[in-house]
């Protein structure tokens, strides 16, 4: 066993874990934050994406002990009280989900895209960037629209203002 100290959704946490514990197991089983999902457990589906020091990572491919000292943000940590994060709000607005299983990972991937590429994302870019996120029900079209709109909203831009055509094909 080994103590891990990290910050999760702004709160400091210290927890003793077996060295073999995956970050996603720490998040779900120890901290009971079950918004982060385990889809494939083989690094392919992205349902377990969380932000580690601001960067999207697959929490099923990281050991909890590797997150020592890190700031982790899960889907539960995105909203400000009752106000959804702009990327979450965009997924609701654009119906970027059906069953919702992949959604936490999609939202985290979208936020990571904005961090790296800025708020003006064309549809082709979003589709390419979603390489590591699998959805098995909506068919991606509304997910792409949601991420484009969420990206603009994160930058404070007004969707539909013409800055970027949303879901231009």
């Amino acid at each position: 066993m080994r103590d891990v100290t990290l910050t999760i959704n702004g709160a400091p946490v210290r927890v003793a874990v077996d060295e073999r514990t995956l970050l996603v197991q720490l998040i779900r089983d120890d901290l009971r934050l079950t918004g982060t999902h385990v889809g494939c457990d083989t690094s392919q589906c992205g349902a377990c994406n969380v932000l580690v020091d601001g960067e999207a990572v697959k929490a099923c491919a990281v050991l909890a002990v590797q997150a020592e000292g890190a700031e982790i943000v899960t889907v539960e940590g995105l909203a400000a009280g009752e106000t959804l994060h702009p990327m979450q709000a965009a997924f609701r607005e654009h119906h970027g989900l059906q069953c919702g299983f992949c959604t936490p990972g999609m939202i985290v991937a979208g936020i990571d895209m904005v961090r790296r590429l800025g708020p003006e994302l064309d549809a082709a870019t979003v589709r390419a960037e979603l390489e590591g996120n699998l959805c098995r029900c909506t068919g991606y079209h509304n997910i792409v629209k949601a991420i484009q709109a969420g990206a603009l909203a994160m930058a404070g831009a007004v969707p539909g203002s013409g800055a970027v055509p949303v879901a231009a094909e």
């Binding site: 060295e19 392919q44 994406n49 990572v57 491919a61 990281v62 590797q66 996120n133």
Partner: protein
Amino acid sequence: MFAFAYHRPSELADALAALAASEEAKPLAGGQTLIPTLKQRLASPSNLVDLSGVAALKGIALHGDVLVIGAMARHVEVATSPVAIARLPALAALAGLIGDPAVRNRGTLGGSIANNDPSADYPAACLALKATIVTDRRELSAGDFFTGLFETALQPGEIVTAVRFPLGGEGTYEKYPNPASRYAMAGVFVWRRGDEIRVAVTGASQQGVFRWAEAEAALAAEFGPAALDGLKPDADDMIADIHGSGAYRAQLVAVMARRAVARLAVAG
């Protein structure tokens, strides 16, 4: 996973000491292959030595006419490094094709080449670009470093510390990714400087990354996609698995090579 002890040293000397302390110790770089491998119980190291805290293994810098990339440089860092993009754009572009964004946020150059997966991208770049692999104790040419399927010249306890890519000439990488894993079904890195030509192939061979000598000779005689007409590696030497037969991979290699050459011929 089987149980292991975990270490995260901040000094290279401490990392090497931890690796030397047990024959069953293993270094942990980005973990994007090793952790899934541990999960499947395909490896059982007694100790994992996490290299992420070792500052000496990080960084991307130009030293004269050589781009030196630390072993722990992550794919995202190579893909977006201004100096890599400016001076070795084919390598930056290759790094941006590995896995997916979340994998690129963790995976490292050193981890990739030390694992030498026959379908990994970086080994092709190292071989084509005449990279020197720097370890804690010696320097090796890429040709000497990659010795076979998941095999390298690394000795127990030896780790890659950096890779030196000499600049000059021009190169490009064409990859046909597996639609699910994004590993290369065939990836061909073509590099030329004057009459000197290198064609390195990953993803396809049962022996891992290799230089395709016939293609190099044909391109030395005349540089253009037509020079490769009718040329294919031997299908019997190619990987045959659920993703494709040996003949399919041989065809993919030929097509990727022609595309890479066509792009270079236009550019040059």
